[in-house]
């Protein structure tokens, strides 16, 4: 995940040798992790006029360079479904993409999400939502970054920890088998069987009480 931060900086400042701005650049990142460990990432970034000018000069019309840069800077994941939305009037853009395989099941049977950074500044917003705030100085420009990590709401036992290299990780429990449409199947099946059995027993009891009256 740290590598994504770097990617964002490079995206904005490659070739930005001399266009420096005191005003920090604000970046908002959102990572939505689904039940199968895939990440759906959205990066929103806005610039000052000078920064936007430089960004456009570097990128030109080849916004696919953003994709290439992300792919090179995030080799851990398999990226796809890139979408780029630009709001030139407000000098901002939103880049979204999917990162397959961000979380995986570890040897303890828990899902594990690697942050790839040591001692990050993490704030817990709720059981499954955390924010990471970072400030970077990229070639003289200050970047304020807020990353929100949203882990699956269906998960439980969310914990922060460290891997064997001392890098931060999140772990959580989740069995995709018992969630979503699969869960509906299970519930529907049980309900149908229960309803059938209940119907049968009620009918049988009515028959018994009717026979009792006859006697």
């Amino acid at each position: 995940m740290k590598k994504l931060f770097l990617a964002v900086m490079l995206t904005c400042f490659s070739s930005l040798l001399f266009a420096q701005e005191i005003k920090p650049i604000k970046q908002n990142l959102t990572f939505n992790i689904d039940n199968l460990g895939d990440g759906h990432i959205e990066l929103a970034i806005s610039f000052t006029a000078a920064q936007w000018d430089n960004f456009k000069r570097v990128m030109g019309n080849n916004t696919d360079l953003l994709k290439r840069q992300m792919e090179r800077t995030l080799p851990s994941y398999y990226l796809q479904n890139f979408a780029y939305k630009e709001d030139a009037m407000n000098r901002s853009y939103v880049l979204s993409f999917d990162a397959l395989g961000m979380a995986k099941v570890n040897d303890d049977g828990l899902w594990q999400l690697d942050l790839d950074m040591k001692k990050p500044d993490i704030t817990k917003l709720s059981d499954n939502v955390y924010t990471l705030t970072s400030n970077y100085n990229a070639q003289g420009a200050l970047i304020q970054q807020v990353a929100k990590v949203v882990m699956p709401a269906a998960g439980s036992d969310f914990k922060q920890g460290e891997d064997s290299f001392g890098k931060a990780i999140f772990t959580y429990s989740l069995s995709p088998d018992t969630h979503g449409t699969r869960l509906l199947l299970l519930v529907l099946g049980v309900l149908l069987v229960a309803a059938g059995l209940a119907w049968h027993f009620v009918s049988a009891r009515k028959l018994v009480s009717k026979n009792t009256q006859l006697v």
């Binding site: 001399f18 005191i22 099941v105 049977g109 049980v190 049968h200």
Partner: protein, 555 residues
């Protein structure tokens, strides 16, 4: 009958739904996609082995494994092999992969050290094996090239994706793999230069600019005396998988030393190897069609035109001091071009890249090569005849003697205007020397106490001395100056170059109605604030050497 039938249907329907849920006949189905490197360069084998090197960009392959089936895959194990190079090696084990789940596995192979003995290119096969559910397995294979150890492929970006010159030179960040200061042969050569040519040196210990420049110049003198010559090597465009790239055969520094010849990039790598072996901070300056070496000391770059040895067959050669002058002139051009945003001008900072995992290849000692170094080092002795690797008629050895004498005489000064004579001194919160003929104005602008002095060479070039109180951050000090200039209608853009030993280096451009002013500045903490000087000029290139010498005196 009817009373049993309807509940029975419900129960049956429920059982069918549960059967679908539990599906005892469901199976997992593995789908594998491989993204692989088109080639492996043996020289960079340690980069390919390190997931943290250059942000893990140089993986051998990446596999996307997807469970496309209805049932989980259990106890999945991914392994790979490269026949004749690497046996089956386990990459990852995962206890379970649920239906629809993806697993991404990257491979950073540990090739054996002897891969650097591979001299020619070959097509090889990588095989990936995925075992799961106890007995099931799936394999995939892919083709790639293993280059010869001297073959350097300049890019790994496919042509349809390349948009700029740096894209075509993307792999130059791997060049430090070919900088081999730990090579016993290079070490031995370095010792010969230090002992027989320089009669002792301590550039890395003194950390003085002039000592580093002297080393650079003496190193050139060594190549000059041994009659090292410039010569070309093979460089051909090749298609390697999706990539079209120039593939250049680059002689290793040990081969440059013992072969006594090299191309610009080879000489640069050789210089960097020796400079690094001597404890200095080597740099390669890459410009379109050329490369030359240099050194970074106290935040200041110095360069030398290593190809100045040229060879008589190529129309003469530079003496050491001339090679340094040409190098410094090239450096001025480099800085100007880089400041104008020309991305074709690239700096390869060997130490910085080594810090990112681009480490040199492993090379073994070689007695034969050491003897060759001994033969070459004979030329370092002023009393001895220069080594002659060429036919007798071509021997121009005697010319070497005056050159090295001259090199030693000039190396103490290190550049234009660097002598202590004719220099005035500014002593305040910061201290430095400047040419005595320049005009000094203390506190030139009333109401701006931060500007302690202005020292003018002429109306186009000057030094500003700043004492900014109330801050301990150089960054804040520069921002303060930026605001100060903005209040006077001037727009300043800057970048921080780095810091060393408590000194913080910046460079930038200031625009005003009077034109553009390029500058470099150094700041340090002083009592109660930050002090520093900014040396600027509307023609910075013309003043670069003088400013370099001024910066070297800042205390």
């Amino acid at each position: 009958m009817k009373k049993v039938l309807l509940p029975g249907i419900l129960v049956l329907a429920g059982l069918v739904v549960l059967l679908i849920y539990f599906n005892p006949f469901a199976t997992g189905n593995v789908d594998v996609k491989i993204q692989n490197a088109n080639y492996i360069m043996p020289a960079a084998y340690k980069v390919y082995a390190n997931p943290d090197a250059l942000n893990g960009e140089y993986y051998f392959f990446k596999a996307l494994i997807t469970n496309n089936g209805d049932a989980p895959l259990k106890n999945l194990k991914v392994s790979y092999q490269v026949p004749n190079y690497l046996d089956w090696t386990e990459l990852e084990t995962v206890p379970i992969i649920y239906p629809g789940e993806h697993l991404v596995v990257r491979c950073y192979p540990h090739f054996k050290d002897d891969i650097v003995n591979k001299m020619t290119q070959s097509q090889e096969k990588g095989e990936v094996k995925i075992e799961y559910n106890g007995s099931q397995e799936k394999t995939k294979s892919f083709g790639f090239n293993i280059m010869g150890r001297n073959q350097f492929v300049y890019t790994d970006i496919p042509p349809d994706e390349a948009t700029s010159y740096p894209d075509m030179m993307h792999n130059t960040q791997l060049l430090p793999s070919l900088v081999t200061p730990e090579d016993p042969v290079v070490k031995y050569y370095t010792q010969q230069v230090q002992e027989k040519l320089m009669h002792g040196e301590a550039a890395s210990v003194s950390n003085k600019n002039e000592d580093a420049v002297k080393f650079l110049e003496e190193l050139y003198a060594g190549t000059y005396l041994s009659h090292m010559v410039y010569s070309g090597t093979e460089g051909i465009p090749q298609k390697l998988g999706d990539v079209n790239s120039l593939v250049q055969s680059i002689r290793l520094p040990r081969e440059v030393i013992t072969g006594n010849t090299g191309l610009c990039i080879e000489l640069s790598l050789f210089y960097c190897s020796v400079l690094k072996a001597a404890g200095l901070h080597p740099i390669i300056f890459l410009i379109p069609g050329h490369a030359y070496p240099g050194v970074l000391v106290n935040g200041q770059y110095y360069a030398i035109e290593a190809t100045g040895v040229n060879g008589e067959g190529l129309g003469g050669r530079y003496r050491p001091d001339d090679a340094l002058k040409v190098g410094m002139k090239n450096l001025q051009t480099f800085v100007q071009a880089a400041q104008q945003g020309d991305s074709r001008y690239m700096i390869i900072d060997v130490n910085a890249l080594e810090g990112k995992g681009v480490v040199p290849m492993e090379l073994r000692d070689d007695d034969f090569l050491r003897k060759k170094v001994d033969e070459i080092a004979v030329a370092f002795n002023p009393g001895a005849a220069p080594v002659d690797n060429r036919p007798a008629a071509d021997n121009v050895g005697p010319r070497a003697q005056p050159a090295v004498t001259r090199a030693r005489r000039s190396s103490g000064g290190g550049g234009e205007g660097r002598g202590t004579s004719g220099m005035a001194s500014y002593a305040g919160a910061i201290t430095f020397n400047y040419p005595a003929g320049w005009q000094r104005f203390n506190h030139p602008i009333a109401g701006v106490p931060a500007l302690a002095a202005l020292i003018q060479a002429n109306q186009f070039s000057s030094i500003s001395v700043y004492n900014i109180s109330g801050t301990s951050s150089p960054e804040q000090a520069v921002q303060y100056i930026q605001q100060l200039l903005a209040q006077n209608g001037q727009s300043m853009q800057y970048q921080r170059l780095g810091d060393k030993n408590g000194y913080f280096f910046y460079q930038g451009v200031t625009n005003s109605s009077g034109g553009q002013f390029q500058w470099q500045a150094v700041f340090r903490q002083a009592t109660g604030g930050i002090s520093g000087i900014a040396c600027g000029s509307s023609n910075y290139g013309a003043m670069a050497n003088i400013y370099s010498s001024i910066f070297s005196t800042v205390r």
